[in-house]
Amino acid sequence: MAPLGRAALLLAFGLVLYALVAGSYAAWKRRRRLAVSAQNALLAAFPATLIAAIILLVALGRRDMTFVYVWQHTSHKLPLGYALSAFWGGQEGSLMLWLLVLTGYAGLAVWLNRRSRELVAWTVPVFGLVAVFFAFMLCFVSSPFNVQPGRPDGNGMDPSLQNPYMLAHPPMLYLGYVGLTVPFAFAMGALLSGRTDERWIVATRRWTLAAWTFLGVGQLIGAHWAYVEIGWGGYYAWDPVENAALMPWLAATAFLHSVMIQEKRGMLKVWNMILVALAFNLSLFGTFLTRSGVLNSIHSFAKSSIGGWFLAFLALMITLSIVLIRWRLPSLRTKTKLESLVSREATFLYNNLLLVALCLTILWGVLYPILSQALRGNERSVSGPYYDFFLHSFGLPLLLLMGLGPLVAWRRASLRSLGKTFAIPFTVAVVTGVVLLGLGFGSSWPGLLTYTFSAFVAASIVLEFVRGRAAAGGIFRLIARNRRRYGGYIVHAAVVLLAIGVAGSSAYQTQREQVLRPGQSIEAAGYRVTYTGLTGVKGPDYDGYRALLAVSGHGERFNLNPGVNNYFIEGPANEASIYHDPRSLGDVFTKAALAGKHTTKIDLEVFVKPLVNLIWVAGFVFVAGALIAMWPDAVEQRRLAARYAAGAAPAGI
């Protein structure tokens, strides 16, 4: 099996190398058949990679310990689902997932836009270049098909990864990371071919939205995994690898907004190219952080030697992006200017500046410890307060802008119009702020401002739907006529829910920690938690214990059982126990560990986290909004097809 896997990867490498070399030559010398041949090579690379991926999955499913990769990441006692998830649990497997998703996306995107030959001819070699790097790594640097004499059992899997959320979190992130290659490849293809019109944007609009949605959902699933599995009482710790997924998402968010200005006003062509390149390079950087072992993080499962290769490739891609944008600068410049600082496009511009500023401050927070260690030899870390400061400084104005933007007209808005449209949201926000202040929420100013701004945004979204419905003659008609706008508003509503959930569960959370004997109690935010005793637990690959907790308060009575699982191969892991209060949408989160050997005393931590469940609800609303925004619009499709038919080629999406 392993030789076939290696051969399939070598074949994929040969095909993407051909797509790069022959594709570049064909596009340069304007050779039609060679360009189609290179395109076919890119299409054929996907089945070749898929065969290699299936072979690895079969080996993982059979726990074939002759594969070094299988031996490193699984054991015979590991349940089948988790054994298969080891595909993306290790370095070689996750590189293969990158290549698999990339060749799949590239083949589909190129095939769908095949009629736009001039643009696609240069897009194929860009896809080929990225794919060559990953295929090279898999064939010659970090192969998943290395074999060894059979061993009785493997190293197993990190207990924290043995969680159902881990079946979805990494693939979602990879679908997002890799998805950002599509707009990048088309943007660079547009620069290389000189097609700096909107064709590349039309070709990649939904791809960008899909990649952005996958990244967003992947991060939320990861946050939920951290919350229920890691057991530290939170869901986001500004871990460098968490940040690595957040940064491209922020850059892509900025792009999704600024590209609308290009479509509506023909402005910001250079800026959009920069944002696409930034989002893609940050997604590469994210993979580098996760897989190079450069960071001491729970995510850096694999310590390896691929870091140098990754850095070199990252440097190449950044250089390529800068050189191409610089080269085509004259054709990207537009004469259209911003008519007013009080207009929809101006609010989009402010939103872009804040998103990019937040993204770059996070990037500096991630880079600083690495650079500090590399240049000075001392390890310095950037902690939560740094990130919290910038989140408040940039995130709160961003939240406010989300409410302001939709209320401001394109081109320019007069003060009288603004006064009229802002009256209701402004009143709702002021009343919310004053009432909350009266209720004692002034203990956290960022929290109070988040709630107040959220009320403003929510009111502006409701107002947009109410006024739009009256003008369009029905809510479904309204949404159908402008899916991107109203899908976008639903995504904004998801961000409001997220902001309220984050503010409630962080700014207004209660935390208590105490060592307890059986029969003793602890109080937290109106809940009384009584430790009644210990009990043992046993699973297929672990044993352990649970603390029995009886909880009462706020008219509720329930039991919680936090404890520890001792995995036979992998070692101990905390198991948190959480009560979801359906009325307050908050949680009572508990974790417990024995306070010593040969004792029944436990070290108990209790967190009461108001509104935390809004964060997970936000995920569903986010997906609904994104799907509406992505849904094809037949009228628009016909309009675009007519435009490109008149120009040269019909729209292929």
Binding site: I51, D197, L407, R412, G468, R643
Partner: protein, 112 residues
Amino acid sequence: MGWALGVAAVLAVAAVVFVARPFLRDPAPASDRLDELAPEARQRLALAEERDRALAALKELEFDHRTGKVSDEDYRAQVGPLRRRAAEVLRALEGGEQARHERVADQEQRVP
């Protein structure tokens, strides 16, 4: 090992045939030149984009006016220039089309 190499060889041959397909299907084409947008077509495309932008802006302005986001005064101030811009672009597109038709007809007449 042997069967694996056999399967790999079959895969490689299939891939080579698929990649070579454009040459196998069309060994001696009349033209092997990759399509390229002529400067005139690029200009037409730019005008079509501008036309779509102008028409979308008008539609957006109408909608914002109906929903009360744009006052009557602002609407009156903006609608005129937008309509003029849309008309200019449409005229330019039509002019380009007419010139193209005349050129094609002229070329057809010259062909013996």
